[in-house]
């Protein structure tokens, strides 16, 4: 089985693409679902990158999914974007799938249905 990888960047300045929340790559197999979270926002969830199959042992420790928000070009077109993403997952011949890249000098989106990448949330590692 050849895994595919999804790439996202919300940082527009190349020199600032240097920390969690600026860009991220997830294996497609880590995708746990998608839901609308605003008229113009579709949120993708992924199994936690830093706590995969982890355990929270300390009081109030939690393990939650990571997430990436995509900004829709037109409001309430979540289903269209979802269908286009699923089509892209299966039809793309390359293994590295650029879903959204907000880099100002080389903006790139998998489809004109999206116009940007919003918040990338990678849950912090649970402390031991």
């Amino acid at each position: 089985m050849t895994e595919k990888y999804l790439y996202f960047r919300t940082q527009a300045t190349i020199a600032d693409d240097d920390g969690t929340g600026e860009s991220a790559c997830f294996p497609l197999s880590a995708l746990t679902g998608m839901v609308p979270t605003a008229d113009g926002t579709l949120t993708l969830f992924f199994a936690s990158m830093l706590n995969n199959n982890g355990d929270a042992l300390e009081t109030n420790d939690v393990i939650v999914s990571d997430s990436v928000q995509l900004t829709l070009t037109d409001d309430n077109t979540h289903k269209d974007v979802i269908e286009a993403l699923v089509e892209f997952f299966s039809s793309a011949r390359q293994n590295m799938l650029i879903i959204g890249d907000d880099l100002s000098t080389a903006t790139e989106y998998f489809s004109p249905l999206i116009s940007g990448v919003g918040t990338i949330s990678v849950a912090a590692v649970v402390a031991s």
Binding site: T32, G33, M34, V62, I82
Partner: protein
Amino acid sequence: MENQVYLYFRTQGTIGNDDDPAQSCLFPASSLAGIESSVSSGVNIVTLFFKSMRNFDGTDQAADAVTISDSVQIELKNSSTVKDFIVAFNNQLNSIASKQKRFFMVADDLSTDEQYFSTLIDGVGTITIAAAHS
């Protein structure tokens, strides 16, 4: 997963209100945890459970905190049985898995363009996406 199928559901009838997780959702078929049946006001309902989208394989050590599955209710027509639905659902899932396009539009209540993969379905009931642990 190379042959992953993705399941789509929408309970919202108005496009302008399809703007939060209780209105529509997509799950990978591999997250399906099980299907159970129930009856409400004489309507046969099947509930599909999925591994939590927001707490996948997650844990929470807060007092009384738990990780629970997400769920989607499918309301059936009077003449439909739950077993009929499960058989049709599995057949469609297997059919789509062998195709290039793996988007499984299970049910969409959009008033201007209702779509159900089977005539057994009358509509989508409650979509429940568990909140992220905090």
